[in-house]
């Protein structure tokens, strides 16, 4: 079966996020107030062949941790989603 997966990669707590900080600083000048704690991350979508949804999720999580993120600075979570 084919499963659709979304992987979210975020910086680990405690790791500086200059991109998020830059966006946050720029917001008031653009008329957006009351926005805080901006964190920037990455996202991947893909389809994966597997026997079951459990197997799909396990492979996707392994892909997320071993390749799509760098564990020294990032956390990654995979989740299954409905076809796009």
């Amino acid at each position: 079966m084919n499963y659709s997966v979304v992987v979210e990669v975020t910086l680990r707590v405690g790791i500086a996020d200059p991109e998020g900080a830059t966006i946050e600083r720029a917001l008031p000048a653009l008329g957006f107030n009351g926005v805080r704690s901006v964190r920037a991350g990455k996202m991947f979508r893909f389809d994966i062949e597997a026997e079951s949804s459990d197997e799909a999720l396990t492979s996707a999580q392994s892909l997320a941790e071993r390749l799509l993120s760098n564990p020294v600075i990032e956390d990654a979570t995979a989740r299954l989603v409905e076809g796009r």
Partner: protein
């Protein structure tokens, strides 16, 4: 004459420059394509700058899986001199051959500019010929050069003299101004600045020579 292998990933672009610098120092340079599973008979390996595999995903993330990296790891484990310059440094951290990670520059822009480096330790194949405290003008050329690591790793880097080069004026937000680090044994080194671009006053600085001179002749010493 020392033989230096220069690894070429698809997307590498400083391989010719690294080879030219090595040859100017009287050593010979050989390109080793990333699909190769052996390094051949070399006295040292350089992972040059550039954008291996387009830097897609993260700098170094895909390159670390290139077949040649197993050979590089084995060579490093035997004490062979390994030098990662810029993108090569990123590949070495992704491959786990050096601790830490390189994040986007603090200013979120690519930076190509001269920097002044301070030699912090001579316990490495790169800095062995330099003097602690020496100031070297060497250019940087990167987007993701801010060295990052957790506190435990940092403490251990300090304890073992693994921080080999620091920036005098931190350009990118690196932790503790770190520009280059070595492994504990000192035979694997990575740095973001480009010593091969500082080989001649015609191009602005010859301060990179002392670093690369130390590196190309390192094998004799290690053995």
């Amino acid at each position: 004459m020392a033989r230096i292998g220069v690894v070429v990933f698809p997307g590498s672009n400083c391989e010719y420059d690294a080879a030219r610098a090595v040859e100017e120092l009287g050593a010979s340079a050989e390109f080793i394509f990333h699909s190769s599973t052996s390094l051949g008979d070399v006295d040292g390996v350089i992972l040059p700058g550039g954008f291996a595999h387009g830097d897609y995903l993260r700098p170094g993330a895909l390159a670390r899986f290139s077949p040649v990296m197993d050979a590089v790891a084995a060579f490093a484990a035997e004490g062979g001199p390994v030098l990662g310059i810029c993108n090569g440094f990123q590949v070495l951290t992704e491959a786990g051959l050096l601790p830490g990670a390189l994040q986007k520059n603090r200013g979120l822009t690519f930076l190509c500019q001269p920097t002044t480096l301070v030699v912090s330790s001579t316990h490495s194949v790169l800095t062995r010929a330099a003097q602690v405290g020496a100031r070297l003008v060497v250019p940087i050329n990167h987007f993701s050069g801010a060295y990052t690591c957790d506190d435990t790793t940092y403490a251990s880097l300090v304890d073992h003299g693994q921080i080999v080069l620091r920036y005098q004026d931190n350009p990118n937000g690196s932790r503790d101004d770190i520009a280059g680090v070595a492994n504990e044994a000192g035979n694997v080194v990575g740095l973001m600045p480009h010593p091969e671009r500082a080989m001649s006053t015609l191009l602005g600085s010859a301060d990179g020579r002392v670093l690369l001179e130390g590196f190309v002749s390192a094998r004799e010493i290690v053995h």
